[in-house]
């Protein structure tokens, strides 16, 4: 852990000294865990994450550095952007998993597109439900959408749980398997957001 050049205090994050408030200019690309002063890993304590975000933002935010000249303001902009991006990466399970996978050299979604056949059949079925609701051929749109939502959310939780267990294990196993697991979650998220969009359309045309 390096020390603050101004006051000598140990730096908990490469962006700012929590002892004297001096903004630090960073070299290279600090990891989101380093930025937010957390231990690298799948499990993240959400409450701690939120507390660290607010504590750091109170020190780095450009609102508090405008009076110290352009250079300080620009460093504040940059460091706060790093805090915000680290937070959004760690706060979102999919983005967090993406970061960990990339960090361990697993293939990117573009490099590993193959998914098991039965899973793809399932995706087709979800899309069919959405199509029927969209076309208005199903009788009970609302409950069909809600039913599908419950299913997808349960699957998503199970997939993430499995992925998390692998990531936490001493040996994470085949990076391709990890990628496929995470791709499953991405498929689910895509369908869930289409479903949300459709539910919004339906409720606004129903007028409630």
């Amino acid at each position: 852990m390096s020390a603050c050049p101004d006051c000598g205090a140990a730096l908990q994050t490469p962006l700012v000294c929590e002892g004297c408030g001096a903004l630090q200019s960073t070299q290279g690309n600090p990891s989101p865990f380093e930025v937010l002063g957390l231990v690298r890993g799948w499990k993240v304590d959400r409450a701690e994450l939120g507390r660290n975000l607010l504590r750091l933002t109170r020190l780095t935010h450009p609102d508090f550095h405008g009076v110290h000249g352009d250079e300080a303001r620009q460093l504040a902009e940059r460091n706060t952007a790093l805090v915000n991006s680290a937070y959004s990466t760690l706060n979102d399970e999919v983005l967090r998993a993406e970061w960990l996978l990339a960090d361990m050299g697993a293939p990117s979604p573009e490099e590993e597109r193959q998914m098991p056949q039965p899973f793809l059949m399932e995706v087709l079925e979800w899309n069919e439900v959405l199509e029927e609701v969209r076309a208005g051929t199903a009788h009970d749109n609302h409950s069909r959408l809600e039913g599908l939502r419950t299913d997808l959310q349960a699957q998503r939780a199970a997939s993430l749980d499995q992925l998390g267990q692998r990531l936490e294990a001493a040996d994470a196993g085949d990076p391709r398997t990890l990628r496929q697991e995470l791709n499953t979650v991405r498929y689910l998220d895509r369908t869930l957001s289409e479903l949300d969009e459709l539910a919004l359309e339906q409720s606004s045309t129903r007028g409630d």
Partner: protein, 622 residues
């Protein structure tokens, strides 16, 4: 007296930092003083500057109340709702154009130009006039002051072009912009400070021309926006237009089609519609009266609230769709909200109140003045930015996703909507042909899948790449959205370390060249502006004197003879009235008279000072 003391001891005007709510219908300035934000207004005035401009046959443009008064008499030279034109192109305004009584065109850079009396003005130039008038009025209200810098508010859902245009307007008005703050966020700040409210709050802000909804979490002085949504072309103006449509439908066949499109008719109908809308917020029915002798028209028509609500219901529904999306993005259920705060004049409409109550499942908070809360919040944020307090922290978001157009017109998203700002993303690019020296890209903002359906912020051209075989160049382009919500793009070629140049061609914005020309034109018109400045200075002086008299009212009541007392009161009233107008001679003579009439009071106070000195007190203790 106070004024003389100030003049003797410290003649320089105080440099103040203010918050400005630059509204579609009205603009307003506020200042932080004694640990709270206050509206800057002169005695007996609301402080509100109507965002209206009139170009008289001769002399400087009129802004505010006087301009508004010209609307019916001189409709073709009176501009309303300029804010809706900021950062927009003709294609964005199809619906609006038929209701505007003046000519609008688009220049070769996609910037709108409004033609008035043979001269053209861009929306930032027009907004600059309103900003300047708002600042002048604020200075007059404060007394001996000048504006050092300002926080200016914009609708949260303003895109980059609209924000840039607002910043350009401030620059043209000679105002240093400390920060551009989102209106609902500013409102939440004023609400949080005033009510000491904490928890999850929805701000529903329906103004004259724009609608925003923001979901925030307020905790320990941190105001954190979770999600925002809105429509920058939806507001009270649209409700007025519904009534105008109703009037036009009824009058079709009664007067000719040409008369129905006549500027005088349109302006009169617009004003009558606005009056009707306001009346229907308290009365179940209102009689619209149009009297236009030139068209041989003297017409009355009763409009019921029911009829009005039926017409505006689809518009109110649109705001509810925005609320639904904001809540979904924030991941908040209505039952999890601690408060719903209504902001903006249009939230006085009963239907709007009923629908928000129904949607959020609770009666909204309406204790704050919906017209003032945004300016108050902006003043509070100005105080933070000046280093006055670190107890408050605003964490805002960017309202729209930012993306790049890819091959085939699709979009690759760089920054998701509702990302906390400031935020940056760095993307790698490479060349497709040997020796390629530049890369073009089109940056878009919006939620649609195809670039053509989003708003293009501009074409960015990367130039100066060193000659390399195709695919060898590694250009890192950094897209940074700053705390103002404004985009900055920088680029570097990593293999050679060459800093590539980014040339920005905004889709609907003024280029740096345009800005220079306009600023220069401003200097050329300096003599014309001189009178205006002189008027502003005199108003400021009168403001200071009024304050001083008010401060020493007790001494005046006690020590002045009845005749001097009466003269002072009369002169103060006259001076205050003269400040409502913009007649240089009248204001000057009112100031002189006021100065004369205040001499006896000054003598009394000086006497008091001298006595104090004899009693062994120093001057600054008195």
């Amino acid at each position: 007296m106070g004024y003389i003391e100030l003049d003797v001891l410290d003649g320089a005007p105080r440099r103040i930092v203010i918050g400005i709510d630059l509204g579609t219908t009205n603009s307003l300035a506020a200042l932080w003083e004694d640990d709270r934000p206050i509206i800057l207004r002169q005695e007996g005035s609301s402080g509100i500057v109507p965002s209206v401009i009139n170009f008289p046959t001769e002399g400087a443009p009129l802004v505010g109340k006087q301009a508004r008064a010209q609307a019916v008499v001189d409709p073709q030279h009176t501009l309303f709702s300029v804010k809706r034109l900021l950062g927009r192109g003709l294609a964005d305004l199809e619906d609006e154009l038929k209701n505007l009584p003046y000519a609008i065109s688009e220049n070769e850079n996609g910037v709108l130009e409004i033609e008035i009396r043979g001269k053209t003005y861009t929306p930032p130039e027009l907004s600059a006039l309103i900003l300047r008038a708002t600042c002048d009025q604020a200075c007059a209200a404060f007394g001996n002051a000048e504006i050092a810098s300002a926080v200016i508010t914009v609708p949260a859902y303003f895109d980059d072009a609209q924000r840039q245009a607002t910043r350009d307007a401030a620059r043209l008005a000679g105002i240093e912009v400390l920060r551009i703050v989102n209106e609902p966020t500013a409102a939440s700040l004023a609400y949080g400070l005033d009510q000491k409210g904490e928890g999850t709050v929805a701000i529903y802000d329906l103004g004259g021309g724009t609608f925003d909804v923001s979901i925030l979490s307020i905790e320990g002085g941190v105001f954190r926006v979770l999600a925002t949504n809105g429509d920058t072309q939806l507001g009270g103006d649209d409700f007025d237009r519904e009534i105008v449509e109703l009037i036009r439908e009824d009058l079709t066949g009664v007067i000719s089609a040409e008369d129905l499109a006549d500027p005088a008719f349109l302006q009169a109908a617009r004003l009558a519609a606005e009056k009707c809308k306001i009346a229907l917020s308290s009365d179940p029915r209102h009689e619209v009266h149009l009297s236009l002798p030139d068209l041989g028209l003297n017409w009355r028509r009763r409009v019921t609230r029911e009829e009005f609500e039926k017409r505006i219901a689809p518009l109110v529904d649109r705001t509810m769709d925005c609320c639904r999306r904001a809540m979904a993005d924030a991941g908040v259920q209505p039952s999890e909200l601690d408060e719903v705060v209504l902001v903006g004049g249009s939230t006085r409409i009963p239907l709007v109140r009923a629908r928000t109550e129904e949607f959020f499942g609770r009666p909204p908070h309406t204790e704050l003045n919906p017209d003032e809360v945004v300016a108050l919040g902006a003043a509070a944020q100005a105080q933070v930015l000046m280093g006055g307090t670190r107890d408050i922290l605003l964490m805002d978001v960017t309202p729209l996703s930012l993306g790049l157009e890819t091959v085939g017109g699709a979009i690759s998203k760089l920054i998701e909507r509702n990302s906390t700002v400031p935020c940056s993303v760095t993307e790698g690019f490479t060349t497709y042909v040997d020796g390629q020296s530049g890369i073009d890209f089109n940056i878009v903002q919006g939620e649609r899948e195809m670039a053509a359906d989003c708003r293009s912020l501009g074409r960015f051209k990367l130039t100066g790449l060193p000659p390399m075989p195709a695919g060898m160049a590694r250009v890192a382009v950094c897209f940074h959205i700053d705390a103002n919500g404004l985009l900055k793009v920088t680029a570097k070629e990593e293999a050679s370390g060459v800093r590539a140049e980014i040339e920005v061609v905004p889709s609907h914005g003024l280029s740096e060249e345009d800005m220079e020309t306009m600023l220069q034109a401003g200097f050329d018109n300096a003599s014309e502006d001189f009178d205006r400045r002189r008027i502003a200075d005199l108003k400021a002086e009168i403001g200071t004197m009024l304050l001083a008299v008010k401060k020493n009212q007790a001494a005046a009541d006690e020590k002045l003879d009845p005749e001097s007392h009466q003269e002072l009161a009369d002169a103060a009233a006259r001076a205050s009235k003269a400040c409502d107008g913009d007649d240089l001679d009248e204001i000057r003579s009112a100031r002189d008279e006021f100065e004369q009439a205040s001499l006896p009071l000054a003598a009394v106070l000086m006497d008091h000072v001298v006595k104090g000195a004899i009693q062994g007190k120093s001057l600054d203790e008195v």
